[in-house]
Amino acid sequence: MREVKDISKSIIFNKKGDISWLLSQVALLIAVGILLASVASLAFYSDWRKKAEINVIASQLARTIEATELKEFPERIKFLFQDKNYSYDIFLSTEYITVKRYDGKISKEIMVKKELHIRPWINPPMSDEKGAEGIYKYFGSIYGSHRNGASPSTKLPSGVLEGEIETMTKELAINPFKINCKKPLYIERISIYVEGENAESIVIIYQ
């Protein structure tokens, strides 16, 4: 007991400054450690890079869809998704492209949303064939081939297209269309002739 008292006394009244030196060095080490750790976590362990990666995918797709909208004539574009060393999902709803990946460090799911400035017709009903022909056949199977909307002489009854698109909007609001990234995505500009109106141009997206 006496010895302990002696030691503590010698620490406090010691004038050589050894302990003071040691304490300040330790404090400095801790401070530098915290600083380096925070910098390293920002640079290597945060998700902003991963977010930026999927942001590129989303904007590429958005740009392609908008470019299709600007085409003057009906045309089909085949959009292929790049193979990445991570897995990602793409969802389409009427107003947004959502890209998700699930390997985030802070929260598992990283999500990027991209706004579309137009309203494409996503995953339209098609029978037999894909693309414009499929849609004309689908309308043909309901309203007869003389009213399938494929040409000025076979115009679609008015209101039908609006109805279809409204149904799609409602469905997509609940279940966004999930794209299979292994398969190509087709973005097509089609014209549908509707009674009492000019040809309606619309962008359809399907796989």
Binding site: K16, G17, S20, W21, L35, V39, L70, I118
Partner: protein, 169 residues
């Protein structure tokens, strides 16, 4: 003075010994701080650039969509055959908010609102005509295109069509 300095240097008691690493550490820390301030600045600027590029892309998209040969402005008669802007029609619509509202609605462009501005040279005067719906305080971007402007049957003058785009709230 000199004596005191010598005393400080020659002092063997080691009172100031523990602070010898501080100057070097300070330099390193300032260096670090500067480096990261720079990195943060570059990142911020890059982000801003990407954002503004996005906005300009949107403005350009709106401009291209409106002025295409079978676009909405052609349908409304503002763009005549050959891509000539009809100034008479333009000015008619310019001051009518209901018509403007309708055009924006019919354009099929979602999430954005837009206004048009037509600049042309008439007898050495620069005329600037703007749609009345353009707000003064919103965050706007613009894209322009050189056009020919039809004033009357005798006069077609060069001009500039600008689309001003802002976010609909």
């Amino acid at each position: 003075m000199r004596n005191q300095l010598l005393l400080f240097i020659n002092d063997r008691r080691g009172v100031s010994e523990e602070f010898t690493s501080l100057p070097a550490l300070m330099v390193v820390m300032i260096g670090f701080a500067l480096f990261f301030a720079m990195m943060a600045g570059v990142y911020y600027q890059h982000n801003e650039r990407v954002k503004s590029l996005d906005k300009y892309e949107a403005a350009n998209f709106v401009l291209e969509k409106l002025t295409s040969a079978n676009g909405l402005l052609a349908e409304k008669g503002i763009i005549m055959e050959g891509g000539v802007i009809n100034a008479v029609k333009f000015n008619e619509i310019r001051e009518n908010e209901d018509k403007i509202e309708k055009i924006i609605e019919e354009s099929g462009i979602i999430g954005l609102k837009f206004g048009l501005k037509l600049t042309y040279w008439e007898k050495d005067n620069v005329e600037e005509k703007e749609w009345v719906n353009i707000p003064s305080n919103a965050d706007k971007v613009a894209a322009s295109k050189q056009v020919a402007v039809y004033l009357n049957d005798a006069e077609i003058v060069p001009g500039l069509l600008t689309v001003i785009v802002w976010r609909a709230d």
